[in-house]
Amino acid sequence: MNDGLSTIEQQITSDYKYGFTSNLEADQAPKGLNEDIIRFISGRKKEPEWMLEWRLKAYRNWLKMEVPDWANIKYPAVDFQDIIYYSAPKQSKKLNSLDEIDPELRRTFEKLGISLDEQKRLSGVAVDAVIDSVSVATTFREQLGELGIIFCSISEAIQEHPELIKKYIGSVVPMTDNFYAALNSAVFTDGSFCYIPKGVRCPMELSTYFRINAENTGQFERTLIVAEEGSYVSYLEGCTAPMRDENQLHAAVVELVAMDHAEIKYSTVQNWYPGDKEGKGGIYNFVTKRGICAGVHSKISWTQVETGSAVTWKYPSCILKGDHSIGEFYSVAVTNHHQQADTGTKMIHLGKNTRSRIVSKGISAGVSHNSYRGLVSVAKNASNARNFSQCDSLLLGDRCGAHTFPYIEVKNNTAQVEHEATTSKIGEDQIFYCNQRGIDTETAVALIVNGFAKEVMNQLPMEFAVEAQKLLAITLEGSVG
């Protein structure tokens, strides 16, 4: 076993393969946050006056708010004045084509395995790439444009589609929703915008890759997806960050709007740098994601595979306002070493005959803590609401924790709500059985964990499922000996 141990150690030390930094020249704001910084950001982005006003209003609200402390996570207080709120890779001029992208930046994306090259159509995924704070490239735009689909960075959308942004920004996550949403509203620097017109089924997966690169940078992206009547879109989000000793802040806001008979499928593979095995460094991930099923028979489905970040605070939610609307949440959250995750969802049933489904699989290893926190709320007039929740925890090792905090609030007697949860560990007999068939322990753990998480993995688009499976295995390497 001694040999085995050293191999495992090697794997642990090499496990975060995205931990490189790129030597990109960046155009940065000075450290700290005040109204001038917000004006600086807005100015850099050549935003209209109303956008600046909106940001300032959010900022003034934020000043009055307190850092939330109810989540089951512990971390040193964040010094919000010690963060750079705007950092853009320097590009000499507006790009006419992707060929003009800084070759260093291009290599960054190649290392990440993201194809920015429109020639490589094999993958069939349209990508918007956000590095540090700024969207640097969006692929397949023209082709999507022919269908009337808008897929661009939110900065461009503010200038080119102000009527849509004005109408929808902050409509699902109000600027005063919570501390981090308010902060994001004040300082968001970029993100993606998708608009799917009436009756259009988006023919390819839309994807955004986020990467934090510059030091001491916060990333505050904002994503807005609007699906008009009868439309469909599947959207993927991936994230990586370099390995750094200090903690970096990520506070995103995602808003989804689904009209009558529209469907939005939003998948995330979150792989921010989790810190080293002593718990040093890593990303603080405080994200507000919410979708509204505004129309009848609309559907929003969140799928997330959370393997990264030192601290995760994230509850992708659905407001089921339209009658017969459907909300889904499928989640796998893996924590190892000193990682902490407090994640879950809210399903707010407002319309009639609404349905929701929650499948959450938490896997804890090392000395990590993994919490599921969820709310199922059935309002007084939401007749015939249905919810089914399944929250399972798998423990690897006796120094980690698994926690479940489901809140269920029902004010209508026609509701039917069911919640089930289990906690278990990987059985030694299961591992031995695999060993006896010639499978080593590491592989056995990966097989068992993937089996445990299968129901969620099946929800991911193919391109992501493979990556997500590998990530699970990498995250847990060395956790069972």
Partner: protein, 251 residues
């Protein structure tokens, strides 16, 4: 191929095997019989390398190697297969996926190239026919919700897939009706050859009607107290194990 010398082992400080001696040659079928608690399943577990059991003395040589020095997966790689008395369930993991991983891990151990999807499927089809197992069973989560017979048939299928040199069947007949025993035994017989050997552990003689042994050993109180040909099994069936007590007392 297998030489067990004075093997002593126990669990949590309790001695169960008190000096086992057994030699198995390629092509042979051995049966180990004995009453409950005599140490039959302990022997199977120790040979497969279950870490709960502690070996306190003796040696086991398998194909020229010190078996006790190998990890469970290396033993599998060397060609030792244990059909579990209680096959384990793994929710969400299909038997196909499980077997694909196992076959390729074992091939890697043996220095062979991994099978690609097409080759694997071909091999699987061939073995499925051999042991007469339904494909639907293999696409379901490993052993989850399987009937007793289905679990045992799955064990035999896995044995066929991994092509072991020595297969140990730990009470493969327990809890099965005669039809299920016949099907499982037919599978075992289908993969028998001159190069490989089988060790059948059972409480009852009836399995040995279908898997005919060359040698029968009686395990009692941690020792092999009697060895003979297949007729010994029949004798035991008629007289039961009670004679052991008398014989042991005399001895």
């Amino acid at each position: 191929m297998l030489q067990i010398k004075d093997l002593q082992a126990g669990i949590e400080g309790k001695e169960i095997l008190k000096g086992i001696n057994l030699t198995i040659q390629p092509g042979e079928v051995h049966a180990i019989m004995g009453p409950n608690g005599s140490g039959k399943s302990t022997l199977a577990s120790v040979l497969a390398g279950r870490s709960d059991y502690e070996v306190t003395g003796g040696s086991v040589e398998f194909l020229g190697k010190d078996l006790l020095d190998l990890s469970p997966e290396a033993r599998a790689g060397e060609g030792l297969f244990l059909a579990f008395q209680y096959p384990v369930e793994i929710p969400g993991l299909s038997t196909i996926n499980f077997m694909k991983t196992a076959v390729n891990e074992v091939r890697k151990y043996r220095g062979q190239e991994a099978l690609d999807a097409a080759e694997f499927l071909k091999l699987m089809k061939e073995k499925m026919n051999l042991v007469n197992i339904d494909k639907n069973l293999l696409t379901r989560s490993l052993n989850e919700g399987f009937s007793g017979g289905e679990k045992k048939r799955n064990e035999v299928f896995q044995m066929a897939m991994l092509e072991p040199r020595l297969a140990i069947l730990d009470e493969t007949d327990s809890g099965l009706d005669i039809d299920a025993i016949r099907i499982a035994a037919a599978g075992v017989n289908a993969v028998r050859s001159k190069e490989n050997a089988t060790l059948v552990i059972t409480h009852y003689q009836r399995l040995l009607d279908y898997i005919v042994p060359d040698f029968v050993h009686v395990l009692y109180n941690g020792r092999i107290v009697k060895s003979g040909g297949k007729e010994l099994a029949l004798e035991l069936e008629e007289t039961g194990y009670s004679f052991l007590k008398n014989e042991m007392n005399i001895a």
